[in-house]
């Protein structure tokens, strides 16, 4: 199976990298849940367990110089784009060594050097700036693409419609990645959208639509690569509709009273992107456990790093208000 896939473009080695990346995100988020429940992490948290294939597939397809905006569910995107787990964990602990130096937190992870223009806690809030970043690339003649991540819930808000309209009108190099997990917090898609195929909203603007199964990281990567190339080649923005599954609650501690437990269990059994890739690669237990141990060590080390990192001084709160 893996050899057949390799013929389509990606080497088995690359897929193993993807598996390791997804595992890193999974173990990182499990650890974050654990530390949160232990009372070590301030604020509150959203994990993206089940959606790792989208983060890894898209972020691994991006080039150096590309930029992206993330959402309140940002750990995966940030790690997948290469920010060190130490920097992400330190941010969750509110430390100076964090990727936002303690000013942001889980919902505001930034790493500008790696193109991360910030995770946004306002649903849909980051989309207009992605259109603007893409406009600047076009005006300057730069071969760069701006990528927006957002969920199905965001397709109902004005920023979504205005950003897609402007991006298509001006033919800017942007890729709008819909992570369609079918839930806006606790509200199912059937209750928040009158149409079932949300990509029709992009088609209404005349935008190129591409679709991928988010639980198949290889497919996400393949389609995202095409989408990025389309945008980079000056052919206009792309709406990348990725069907995915949130295999956990909206926030850490969410009892999910609104969700059918049998259905959730079934999804966890059949639609876990890590299990699916592991099966595709026919990875042995030993191989999988080796990779798992390696990322687990990284994650454990990130907690140690974060705990030992520097607390900001209270008065640091008054820095960075103005440039």
């Amino acid at each position: 199976m893996a050899k057949v896939e390799a013929k389509r473009g990606l080497s088995e080695e690359r897929l193993r990298e993807f598996l390791r990346e997804m595992l890193l995100i999974r173990r990182f988020e499990e650890k974050v849940e654990e530390r949160f429940r232990a009372g070590e992490l301030p604020g509150f948290l959203h994990v993206a367990i089940g959606q790792e294939g989208v983060a890894v597939g898209v972020c691994q397809a991006m080039d150096d110089g590309d930029v992206f905006a993330s959402t309140h569910r940002a750990h995966g995107h940030t790690l997948a784009r290469g920010t060190h787990p130490n920097a992400v964990m330190a941010e969750l602990y509110g430390k100076m060594e964090g990727c936002s130096h303690g000013y942001g937190g889980s919902m505001h992870l930034y790493d500008v050097e790696r193109g991360n223009l910030g995770a946004n806690a306002v649903v849909g809030g980051g989309l207009p700036a992605i259109t603007g970043a893409a406009l600047s690339f076009k005006l300057r003649g730069e071969s760069r693409v701006a990528v927006a991540f957002f969920g199905d819930g965001a397709t109902n808000i004005g920023t979504f419609h205005e950003s897609l309209n402007l991006a298509q009108l001006w033919q800017v190099p942007a890729v709008f990645v819909l992570e369609d997990n079918h839930w806006a917090e606790s509200t199912p898609e059937i209750q928040h959208s009158p149409i079932r195929d949300l990509s029709k909203r992009a088609e209404a603007f005349g935008m190129k639509v591409m679709k991928a199964d988010g639980q198949d990281v290889e497919e996400v990567h393949r389609v995202a690569s095409r989408a990025l190339k389309h945008a980079r080649d000056g052919k206009g923005p792309v709406f990348l509709h990725v069907e995915t599954e949130r295999l956990v609650g909206h926030y850490v501690g969410d009892p999910q009273v609104y969700r059918d437990k049998e259905r959730l269990h079934e999804l966890q059994e059949t639609r876990d992107p890590i299990t699916l890739l592991r099966e595709k690669l026919s990875a042995s237990d030993e191989e999988f456990e080796d990779a798992d141990r390696e990322v687990q060590e990284l994650v454990d080390a990130s907690v140690e790093f974060a705990k030992a990192a520097t607390d900001p001084k209270p008065e640091d709160a008054l820095k960075n208000v103005y440039a």
Binding site: V112, G125, P128, G132, L139, L166, K319
Partner: protein
Amino acid sequence: MPELSYREAVRDALSQAMRQDEDVFVMGEDIAEMGGSMGVTAGMLDEFGPDRIRNTPISEIAIVGAGIGAAMQGMRPVVEVMYEDFLTVSMEQIVNQAAKHRYMSGGQLKVPLTIRTQGGAGWSPGAQHAQQVEAWFVHVPGLKVVFASTPADVRGLLWSAIYDDNPVIFFEHRTLYGLKEEVPEELEPIPIGQSRVHREGSDVTVVATGRLVHEALRAAEEAESDGISVEVWDPRTLQPLDLDGLVASVKKTNRVVVAHEAVTRMGFGAEIAAVVGEQAFDWLDAPVERVGAKFAPLPFAPVMEEYVVPHAADVLEAVKRTVARG
């Protein structure tokens, strides 16, 4: 010295910045062929082309948001929001995005965006095309707020706003566009945060912004005939505020009137009164008087509009009230 109208002065600052710097561009509704609803960008399309004098859909969220995105990439966009009232449509982008990206990123990002907008009563536009909303933005950490009252000031301040590395909300007043005065041959940038004394005086300081600067100057002339010497002090930048300049004037006159066209209650003048109370209480001979619009949306009928917004006579009365306190 050339004479420029306030409108021409805005255009001159924009054009000069665009000539020297490819990273400066303008976008907004109807700004290209039409030259903007106030004619500010008239003729600029011919010189700079449609990429840089960029007509947009009626889409304030996306226009402001696209400005933020381009600014974060190091460009210096100037976004025109046709009326101040429409800033409310893009409020989320201004308050949660433009103002906070630098902070939330721990200093990694800058947002050198200028949002030009205008408003002001006096021509019966009704309740959704003339209100003055500067106080809403002064309340937001991360934003700078400018309100220029003369051609020379608007030119020098707009230049500084464009080259400021922070988001600047730049207010212009609808009724001032035709106002003309001689301006320096060379554009002289005016630092953000530097106030201006339009008229020196010794008895009362009138803190005035926008159109009310001119109303205050008229009131000052009338007061002079009654033997009252009025200083007209214009902060020009509302955020950051030139505290030293304000306190210096108050220490000289010992009486303060604040005058703006926006609604008095919770207005910018309330902050001035508070700051004066904190920093110059011992120099005050009378309570701070406030002049502003009455607490109502702007009405349409001219007699009602005239009644709601303040004029020179209101400033003069306030000046006399504060002097009468002894």
